[in-house]
């Protein structure tokens, strides 16, 4: 007798990911899809994709999807959720999208306690456009627009999104995770599930910051990129739950 | 019938309300009317004027270059608008706060000591109604009764205790013009 122990989540499409080898986008997509399945949300989910590497996320999900303009996913999500309060609405955003061009939308949707969930992929670079400095690029890290390393005298300091948003009264759940190990993956999925559940419970804005990688622009092997997250990125971006109410 | 009126004063003198009341009265009489405001940047005390055009025809321009009538609540707007009044037009001045213009002998000039009358009636705020009463009686863009009716429509029910005072002020103005 055979038993199926692993299968594609219903909410994930059969399309092949176009992501680079070793990129965590596909992993996080899958975790989101698993949670949508487990919470039985697919029939009422509207997902919002960003501009950035995950711009084609609508091809990878089986739920209704909307492509937003750069940085505006929380505003688009607000529009959907306010009109359809019974729907489940998540936004998926990178660091340039969420913490640079879309900072205002992020802060204000959080402050309004907008009943939406945001999955925030922080890999400290603009992967799609060629590896430029992101708002979350660490001091000293080299990118194509800070080739000598990020110099605070010129480019200031990276933004800690979870800490920033935690000062607001609107959010119900803010957590930072790193899916770089079996344990990290489990914690990432648990955080996403908790965030989504907050929305289902009508608790308001939830956000999970996922420390992610970019082997291509970081010029590292996938394994090294995961190690770098674990050993370096988490020092500047500590993991944990910042808000849970 | 087509009348173009500029009502002008300072913020707080009730110029906008005076214009809107006339506009509401015109609607009651099934006439066409346009009310258009012009404010200074200040919320209180700055210049405030509005244009009201009452007509039995379709109204074109919502603004007027040469009004048939100017209602001036004090000296400053009187000075500002007096030259614009059309030849042989009408100028109603609040003589408590403005002097009769010397260079418009072509116009019919009505002096209404509106502030003094308002104080006499017990409330300075209704100087605008005294002015409106005088103007309506004189030029009949609408009937005075329609203004009374408009007052009832415009004032919220919990302010209807102010109706007698306002009507009294309108009547006092009308008596002066009559």
């Amino acid at each position: 007798m055979t038993q199926k122990v692993f299968e594609r989540p219903r909410a994930l499409s059969e399309n092949t990911f176009s992501y680079c080898a070793g990129c965590l986008h596909g992993v996080v997509h899958r975790l989101i899809a698993e949670v949508i399945d487990e919470l039985d949300l697919m029939e009422r989910t509207v997902g919002i994709c960003p501009v950035g590497c995950s711009v084609f996320m609508y091809d990878y999900m089986e739920c209704d999807m909307i492509e937003a303009s750069h940085g505006r996913a929380p505003a688009v999500a607000t529009g959907v959720k306010r009109i359809l309060p019974g729907s489940f609405v998540f936004a998926y955003q990178g660091d340039g999208d969420l913490a640079a061009i879309g900072t205002a939308e992020t802060i204000h949707s959080a402050a309004r306690g907008e009943n939406i969930s945001v999955v925030f992929i922080n890999n400290g670079t603009y992967g799609m456009t060629g590896g430029q400095m992101a708002p979350t690029t660490l001091v000293g890290a080299k990118t194509t627009t800070c080739p000598e390393g990020r110099d605070p005298a010129i480019a200031g300091y990276p933004i800690k999104v979870c800490e920033l948003l935690s000062s607001l009264d609107g959010p119900s759940y803010i957590a930072r995770v790193a899916p770089v190990s079996a344990g990290g993956l489990a914690k990432t999925k648990a955080a996403i599930k908790k965030a989504f559940q907050k929305q289902l419970d009508g608790k308001g804005f939830s956000l999970v910051e996922v420390l992610s990688n970019c082997p291509t622009q970081w010029n590292m092997s996938p394994i090294d990129s995961l190690k770098w997250i674990e050993e370096t990125a988490t020092k500047h971006y500590p993991l944990g739950e910042f808000v849970d109410r | 019938m087509h009348q173009e009126i500029i009502m002008a004063g300072s913020g707080g003198q009730g110029v906008m309300v005076m214009g809107q009341l006339l506009a509401h009265a015109a609607v009651i009489e099934d006439k066409n009317v346009v009310w258009f405001p012009s404010y200074g940047p200040e919320s209180r005390g700055g210049s405030a004027d509005c244009t009201v055009i009452v007509s039995t025809d379709q109204i074109g321009s919502p603004m007027t270059e040469n009004p048939d009538t100017l209602i001036a609540m004090n000296q400053i707007p009187l000075n500002k608008f007096v030259a614009s009044v059309k030849r042989e037009g009408v100028i109603v001045i609040n003589s408590s706060l403005a002097e009769v213009p010397k260079d418009r002998s072509d116009c019919r000039i009505i002096s209404v000591p509106a502030n003094d009358i308002a104080v006499e009636l017990g409330n300075l705020k209704i100087a605008n109604m005294v002015m409106l009463g005088a103007f309506v009686e004189l030029l009949r863009p609408v009937k005075l009764e329609s203004v009374f009716l408009a007052l009832r429509n415009v004032l919220p029910p919990h302010r209807h205790n102010l109706l007698p005072l306002n009507e009294q002020a309108l009547k006092r103005g009308a008596e002066l013009a009559g």
Binding site: E43, I48, D64, M65, A75, V76, G79, S87, E105 | G60
Partner: protein
């Protein structure tokens, strides 16, 4: 049945929208349209709809984008600088073929400009203010009554063509109070919207998107949009005429300026001058054919705008040299007075230059 009442233009926009079934409003304060979000904040919830004061016009238009994805009738309103901020979002709405209504209560520009009246956003509205080959169906009211009815119509047209529709008003229309007959009920048709992203219950998934990475596919979308615009040109041209039949000179103006010009027509007629008024109501599609007809009947045209010449370009394209097209414009919140315009009328009919300001050079450029 209808009730005759008094209403401010901004209030009429709100009431027309709600009467047409608008159930989502997203906006940000800016003078001279602040009464719109203020009225919306109380009337929209009463109508069972949604009101959100956004953090910016950028957020407003993107909330509109998201809300429009649900198939509900939604809108935003702003004034010139705020509308500039919305342009990217409007382009996305056009590209994603979403129905939405945007109202611009125009003020003086450029830059922060001022809060007085202006008509200098014509190009932005009708020539595609954002990026890409798209068109906004653009309607221009001239009265409080049309603020109500054209806003209501905008929702029908937005749904019919799955295209953003702009109501191009101005500060005077927004601020003035005027007699209006408010109908008890308005005729409106909301078509089924199987494309909406409402959750995929009982159907395949829907994607709303304006990203088409393969050039052939994006060109196909563009051709589809162009076909739609051709249909608008065929079916949605709207205009009004006043005393043009025997006119030697026809004034061409929209919005508040057309009200001024109506007064000018009456003033001119009293002097024995045969003057008429042609008023485009739809700015895109522009009423080119009727204007060409006026030119062919030998009438001179004089365009009046509160700008230094924007719509005049469309008028000149329409008549294609078949008659003389003069221009008179004021800007920055200055309103061309009827007597100023009348002077231009007299000059034009006397064969003089039709413009004492900018367009003497303009006409020369055109004839060259």
């Amino acid at each position: 049945m209808a009730t005759k009442t008094l209403m401010k233009g901004n209030e009429a926009i709100v009431k027309g929208a709600i009467a047409a079934g608008c159930r989502g409003f997203f906006g940000y304060p800016i003078t001279p349209q602040n009464e719109i979000p203020e009225y919306m904040s109380s009337l929209m919830p009463k109508a069972g709809g949604v009101f959100v004061q956004a953090e910016s016009e950028v957020a407003s238009i993107n909330m509109v984008y998201g809300a429009a994805c649900t198939g509900t009738r939604v809108m935003t309103t702003s004034s010139s600088p705020g509308i500039s901020l919305m342009q990217e979002g409007i382009s996305y709405i056009a590209g994603a073929e979403l129905p939405a209504v945007i109202v611009n209560v125009q003020r003086g520009g450029p830059g922060l400009g001022n809060i007085a009246v202006g008509q200098a956003d014509y190009f932005q509205a009708v020539k595609g203010g954002g990026h890409g080959d798209y068109k906004l169906l653009t309607l221009a009211p001239w009265s409080v009554s049309e603020c109500y009815h054209l806003t209501a119509l905008a929702f029908d047209l937005a749904d019919k063509y799955r295209n953003p529709v702009m109501v191009l008003a101005d500060a005077i229309l927004g601020q003035m109070i005027e007699t209006i007959e408010v109908p008890d009920k308005i005729e409106t048709y909301i078509p089924p919207k199987p494309w909406a992203t409402t959750g995929r219950k009982n159907r395949d998934k829907n994607i709303i998107n304006s990203l088409w990475i393969v050039p052939q596919v994006l060109e196909e979308l563009n051709l589809k949009l162009q076909a739609k615009y051709a249909l608008m040109i065929e079916h949605e041209v709207r205009y009004d005429e006043y005393k043009v039949e025997d006119a030697d000179l026809v004034l061409v103006a929209y919005g508040t300026t057309s009200r001024l010009c109506k007064t000018v027509v009456d003033m001119a007629r009293k002097e024995g001058l045969n003057v008429g008024l042609f008023r485009p109501i739809s700015l895109f599609p522009f009423p080119s054919i009727p204007l060409e007809g006026l030119a062919e009947r030998g009438k001179k045209l004089l365009v009046v705008e509160m700008s230094h010449g924007q719509m005049v370009e469309d008028v000149r394209l329409s008549v294609n040299g078949k008659t003389s097209v003069g221009f008179y414009g004021r800007s920055g919140g200055m309103v061309p007075t009827p007597s100023e315009i009348l002077n231009q009328v007299r000059d034009t009919l006397n064969g003089g230059s039709s413009c004492s300001c900018c367009c003497r050079t303009r006409s020369e450029e055109v004839s060259r």
